[in-house]
Symmetry: C2
Subunit: 179 residues, 2 copies
């Protein structure tokens, strides 16, 4: 398999969430182009209450112009992935967690996105006050038991691929906490 390497990267547009680039690629004497969306890494969190409930969030999503049911998450903004996970959990749900376990990571779409998304399990939760949001998001907290999640996915209530991948990683590594 040829390992295509960029001769030149042309930035077409820069935005807070990503930069759109045209990569001029070479493999030996061959040349081709590819469109690449350079994005910061993302993180998401499965927050689990002692009674077995998952803290989910419902929010309006501009890509599909509809609300979705998801786990908390967002961009890693010049901090550690774990710090981003803690910040997103607090901002979107109002919870802090004393116990964190990294379940794994995925490539959201390696065909054109540069980034990874790490998934964390957060347990031993403590309510710290109302969600703060990030000033833009309007978020509603929704509790569902872990046992309900497969039905929510199979029925199409939970559709976000990164959320489904997160629950898959949890199913593969069900240990609750590694202090």
């Amino acid at each position: 398999m040829r390992r295509w390497q960029p001769d030149r990267v042309e930035e077409l547009l820069r935005h807070r969430l990503f930069a759109l680039e045209r990569h001029h690629l070479a493999a030996g004497d061959d040349r081709r182009e590819a469109m690449v969306l350079r994005a910061p890494d993302w993180v998401n969190v499965i927050p689990l209450l002692p009674g077995g409930e998952v803290v989910l969030v419902r929010q309006w999503r501009f890509g599909i112009a509809a609300p979705t049911l998801e786990i908390p998450g967002g961009m890693v903004e010049g901090e550690s992935e774990r710090a981003a996970a803690e910040r997103e959990l607090r901002e979107e749900t109002g919870y802090l967690a004393r116990c964190w376990r990294r379940l794994g990571e995925v490539h959201p779409n390696p065909a054109f996105l540069t980034n990874r998304c790490g998934t964390w399990l957060a347990t031993d939760l403590e309510w710290a006050g109302e969600p703060r949001g990030d000033g833009e998001e309007e978020i509603e907290v929704v509790l569902r038991t872990l046992g309900e999640i497969p039905t929510l996915i199979a029925s199409g209530e939970i559709t976000h691929a990164l959320v489904i991948a997160a629950f898959h990683h949890l199913a593969l590594q069900p240990e609750r906490c590694a202090p």
Copy 2:
């Protein structure tokens, strides 16, 4: 929750794979903007051989500048989703399938992508000749048993979120075929 609706959609860039749009949104008297990547729907396929092997593909991915291990898939190009699934399976692996079952669909990223990705299970496979590719992709076929997939995901050999979500849908609906 406010239902933001676009007052005006500004196309910033159009490419074969997607169009980048700035949405000028309104909810009552409030206004805001959002970046949206309008993409055709995608499809992926879990092709299962009678012996329990999954037909995987390894290919160079330009987003992460590295090879990945995935299931076959691609864009729905003005055809039905099922027809796209059949075409991608044939192009990328050389197989035809007599038996197709739709396992579900996901939103690849509802925050900024407009599209869905449907997942199909293909069984009763027949070898139809060498993979044809689409003229751009260089693809290597790799066989792994279905029982090996959890290890490939947990170990980070399979990292594509849409592929992991596809195997999650398969685990939730393990019936093999609905002729």
